[in-house]
Symmetry: C2
Subunit: 190 residues, 2 copies
């Protein structure tokens, strides 16, 4: 029961961060969305909203990481796995509107530099994602320097396209970068 | 004098949007940063904070557009001009810390989908940027379909790298996508 309300608060925070960012999300709204007793907030998260948001970014990142890992295994390469991830993202936008963005991109853009706990969480998420992709690209035959450069570009393309989709109220940018991403990250021809 | 306090409010808002986004920026802070009389706010911006922020996004976008236009003319191609723009951005991060992001990316990520005036402004900025780049790439010899796809990818790479830099407290992502961007947008070899 204790664990449950803690988990619900993290999930509610992740949804709210994706929708409206850190500054736009109030503690009362988190507690209401999580259907949690108000007093439980500082019991579970003595560091307050910043700690809760940092844990929500961690949880969101773990979720994305796991989704991508599964897609890469299923499709057989980083390029095809990430292209499939972009399909999921674009389908989500077309189905649900643009209310749910990427929690990592949103918090990075509007809050990370002014809040150390958030900067740690977004930094952790982006470094883990980039280095995981870099390792995958190396394993597929890219030279180390190239793998590093392409991994950064791959994450930037995905995050940039999601931000553009929110700003343009259109899934088109996500669908349009898909082909560039597939081409850019394709295993080197031997 | 009237024009002056209006302009100062737009500039102050643009700075605050870049630093902390729409939800993180309060009217009192804008009025204080702009050194404007408090009563002048609704006189100049009857649509309130949303109108002011939309005009600040427009002004920021016009500024970026003009900077990039000058760099492209000076360097002789879209690819080299945008690479030079990324140098400017990365140097700014190294000099000033990560407090000033891209107002278009920040507002897109955290606020545009929930505020129609902002969605119009970010949509306008991103469409103008993408179609300007597309026209430039076409003029340099890319096929229309390719120019469109590459323009979207170019803007996504730049916006994504800026968001990553904020989230990782490092200018490295901006410097790392520079080479990919130059290569991706290079004029087609004939």
């Amino acid at each position: 029961m204790t664990t449950d309300s803690r988990t619900r608060m993290i999930r509610a925070t992740a949804r709210l961060l994706r929708r409206q960012g850190y500054h736009g999300t109030g503690l009362n709204q988190i507690v209401a969305e999580a259907e949690a007793p108000k007093g439980s907030m500082y019991f579970h998260f003595p560091g307050g909203k910043a700690q809760l948001a940092a844990e929500a970014v961690d949880a969101f990142a773990a979720n994305v990481h796991e989704t991508i890992r599964t897609l890469v295994l299923d499709r057989g390469s980083q390029a095809e796995g990430l292209a499939a991830y972009l399909d999921l993202v674009a389908d989500g936008f077309d189905r649900d509107g643009f209310s749910q963005g990427c929690a990592i991109a949103t918090v990075s853009a509007e809050a990370a530099p002014t809040e150390p706990a958030l900067a740690e969480a977004t930094g952790r998420a982006l470094r883990a994602w980039t280095s995981g992709l870099e390792a995958g690209l190396s394993a597929e035959g890219h030279e180390p320097d190239t793998a590093h450069r392409l991994a950064t570009a791959g994450v930037a393309l995905i995050e940039g396209a999601i931000v553009m989709a929110r700003g343009m109220s259109s899934s088109a940018p996500v669908r349009e970068v898909r082909q560039t991403l597939r081409h850019l990250l394709a295993p080197p021809s031997t």
